[in-house]
Symmetry: C2
Subunit: 163 residues, 2 copies
DNA sequence: AGAGCTTCGGATAAAATTGTCTTTTTTGAT
DNA sequence: ATCAAAAAAGACAATTTTATCCGAAGCTCT
């Protein structure tokens, strides 16, 4: 409807990293598994997030992806701007190239406030706020179960904070 | 952003027909020209609108497309339901298959009212209201000039209402 | 230095959307 | 009846989006 599949994967991934990032960099492969997303495709998306400056990548053992800034300072609009392009916030409902307050399509007067509402929502929602909602346990990040907490991961083992 | 190009063409076409339909059935070819849309493609879309019950088609000479009901009784949501499918109104922002009040994605609480606002807007906007906005002359239906009024069409000629 | 792991980058493929072309069918007018 | 005009229908092509595969490069630990 509003977002491409790519944007949806991107948001889910960054929220996942926000939730689990305290454990260190997160593997692309594992994020994909937890989200139920195609691994190689999601890998590309994470690369794009790196180029967009939202993620750091770390190669080799104990590598993976981590956020470049605090979840609270990273809003969804920044993700969407990368995945959908900057025109996302200016597009006309009917697809006109030229549609602004000066010269507009007939839907402009009624669509503009809704669009602004959407943008304001994407600006105000941060990885922190979304992650918190998931942490509370009332909401699911994916259709699959258990993409939530840094559940005890034996293979990765050894983190002193694990019980 | 929100609508596919197909939906945008469909809406523009039906509004065009609402504006010019008093002159009789409108040619697919001519609608396409006025809207600056690919003719053969738009032809398919109009066919779909026929199957969806929004348009009548008339073959042969003096053929074309006309509305099946009054512009005031045809809302944009009915068009979008055909072009985007019924799931349009229920889709999750993050793409979850299961996302409702009972079991939801973290964006659900904030996205739901916006989505409802969009739907309400598409329900309340009719071909009549959009056509009126265009008729007033303040708004353009396309990027091309002159897709508005039933401007005097010499080729078609002979309509007693023409000056 | 070497082994093992991970991202990176490019090529490729599948699927969906958008767009084109050609033939057939139907219709109204002559 | 015949003809011209229009939509209908189906095959095909281009483009975009989504997805896969594989070798190369970089990193960490031993």
């Amino acid at each position: 409807m509003l977002l491409t599949h790519t944007s949806q994967y991107a948001i889910q991934s960054l929220v996942y990293i926000a939730l689990n990032g305290t454990e260190g960099p997160q593997l692309s492969r594992e994020i994909a598994a937890k989200l139920g997303a195609p691994s190689a495709y999601l890998s590309k998306i994470l690369q794009t997030m790196c180029k967009g400056g939202l993620l750091h990548s770390h190669r080799g053992r104990l590598g993976g992806f981590s956020l470049t800034r605090s979840p609270a300072s990273l809003s969804l609009i920044q993700i969407v701007n990368i995945t959908e392009g900057a025109s996302f916030t200016t597009e006309c409902l009917l697809g006109l190239k030229q549609c602004s307050d000066e010269t507009a399509c007939p839907m402009h007067p009624i669509w503009k406030p809704i669009k602004e509402h959407i943008i304001q929502m994407l600006e105000s929602q941060t990885l922190a706020s979304v992650a918190d909602a998931v942490r509370e346990g009332k909401y699911r990040l994916t259709d699959l179960p258990g993409a939530l907490h840094p559940e005890i991961n034996a293979e990765r083992g050894g983190c002193p904070f694990d019980a």
